[in-house]
Symmetry: C2
Subunit: 337 residues, 2 copies
DNA sequence: CTGAAAGCGCTAACAT
DNA sequence: ATGTTAGCGCTTTCAG
């Protein structure tokens, strides 16, 4: 492996000059600098990130903490595309990504310890249990963090606009003449609470009363659960005219169940999803859903984190709200007609 | 940050002793060692991977090279779940994952340079253009590599059993009485070639002749392309009784097109996918497809790479074939009835 | 059984 | 304009 010393020898200069030439920010003779750089290039020099880190305390490496338990974070399109956006944005600034986890060999590291072990300059946290003491410890540590879809006091975060999203959905449903609206909650998280509150509030603002029977507990990304809950809703004496699902994927379970009952979408019953996964546009009818801009969320979170890392003094904690958009689709019937 | 020196001071011993105690593999007095370890723990010591690397030349970091161009590798379930499996397996051995890419700030690094820059101990390569000179350079470098779904001479790889997979599909179709079998190829890769060859060979072995009209060029994961090609097949004078798609996702485009023609699956035409994504089990009818064991592929590749890293002398290059299984589903009609 | 010391590759303050 | 040098935190040989 070619190192600075090799270049110095080759050029007949000191290692300091090589280092300076490579950074281009010194009072070296421009010609010398240029020459050194050309030799470095010819020799195929690649800096050693670890050696540099030891000196500068900067790894140009950012940690990504994704859900760990179900280990399925990566398999959800919303997170996969977010991760991809984080990666791309980070790379454009010269940062790499390291996954933070804690099932690490025998000596189980905590999230914080893992982050220290790898000297990450900061961590992006998404899709975890934000009440977890390890997560809290990490957020409250000296390591810069940006959380996604959850806000910690005095910390930066990037959130999808769940309140507006759910509001848009409800207002659309009302516009389409729906009053009997059923709502299936996702797992008990801050996001779910926001969406549910927004759902309720928007209904109320529009003078619509939602029967308690129409509110169900579901799970994110588990079609089977949605299926079961859908059956309960379909069996009600007074059936809802539309069912709002926690996400597009779990909505699939609903579709199966609805079809099993011999009902047609949207003629017999309407359905709405959330997320806007690609599949929602491939199914027929196209699914009515709220498209979250996962790419923008990923990009913004990486950008914000790097800003904090590079300008710790002048960067204010901030919550960045990323807007989505309603995809009207064809799964909601217009009852006005 | 607490370092070895701090522990040494606290314990009144030398840093060498602390290091030895932490590794537990020396001739230190067991009691001293135990004491040092307890103090280290109490002080919240976390080793610094970079400092250790500088000395040992081992980063405990493995690079993962995924498709870079369409930047959608992560969004395909097959790769997402493979990546997740790689990550979990690697972590269980104390290794972290670093994505290898080449759009890195201004100084565009090659894959090899990026790998060197981060000192990865090895690289797992998947879903790339294996003819790319940068990829070849990386594979032929001194850095240990394991490739997925592609074999380099004298190098280790993990491959999904595409030949058996396609064979299983064809034999199943024949068992179901199909003779007019259409085949849509994926992008021009080694995997596609294997599947296609196996398809042809199996047909031939069973005395079935495939009209050239029935062989179409398609693309992986692009439903729209499959849709277009499906239309061509449906418009043939002598329509095939079954269409074999390059993957489950692109098959969706076929479904849409088939339904647009007012045809029913499988009564009017049968379809078969490949991959076995979760969705294939959620759709009704359940999709007939070949389930690739992406988790096992990921796991095996990580395991193999680590084996090479840790036992470079005694590990033989090897191609590990991971079997899948036919998911019979309900999208193929039994023509014998 | 324990410690001193060299050095991994690099940066940057401080000479010259 | 260029060079010398002191570490960053760690492992490991060799001496005691």
């Amino acid at each position: 492996m070619v190192k600075i010393k090799d270049i110095a020898d080759e050029c007949g200069v000191s290692i300091a000059s090589v280092s300076k030439a490579l950074h281009g920010n010194s009072d070296l003779n421009p010609k010398t600098a240029e020459y050194i750089r050309s030799v470095a290039k010819k020799m195929g020099y690649v800096p050693n990130a670890s050696a540099r880190l030891l000196k500068t305390n900067r790894s140009y490496n950012i940690g990504v903490l994704f859900v760990d338990e179900t280990s399925s974070g990566l398999e959800h399109e919303y997170f996969a595309s977010m991760l991809n956006a984080i990666k791309e944005e980070a790379e454009s600034y010269g940062y790499d990504i390291t996954f933070i986890s804690h099932r690490f060999r025998n000596n189980n590291l905590t999230f914080y310890e893992h982050a220290k072990y790898r000297n990450v300059d900061g961590v992006i946290i998404a899709s975890v249990d934000f009440k977890d003491s390890e997560v809290i410890k990490l957020v409250e540590s000296e390591i810069p963090t940006v959380t996604i879809d959850y806000e910690f006091n005095g910390k930066s975060s990037v959130v999808s606009d769940n309140i507006q999203g759910e509001k848009d959905i409800v207002e659309y449903l009302i516009k389409m003449g729906h009053k009997k609206i059923a709502f299936i909650k996702g797992d008990d998280t801050a996001v779910t609470l926001k969406r549910f509150t927004s759902f309720y509030k928007t209904c109320e603002e529009n003078g619509i009363k939602i029967s308690d029977d129409y509110i169900k507990e579901g799970r994110y990304h588990i079609p089977k659960v949605s299926g079961t809950v859908t059956r309960e809703l379909l069996n009600l004496k007074e059936r809802p005219t539309v069912i709002v699902y926690p996400d597009d994927y779990s909505l699939l379970g609903g579709i199966t169940e609805i079809e099993k009952h011999g009902l047609k979408i949207p003629d017999d019953i309407s359905i709405v999803g959330y997320d806007g996964i690609k599949l929602s546009r491939l199914l027929r009818p196209i699914v009515t859903t709220y498209v979250q801009d996962s790419i923008e969320i990923g990009r913004q979170s990486a950008k914000k984190l790097i800003e904090i890392i590079e300008n710790p003094k002048t960067t204010l904690p901030e919550t960045i709200v990323v807007k989505g958009r309603l995809q009207e689709g064809k799964t909601v019937k217009d009852l006005n007609k």
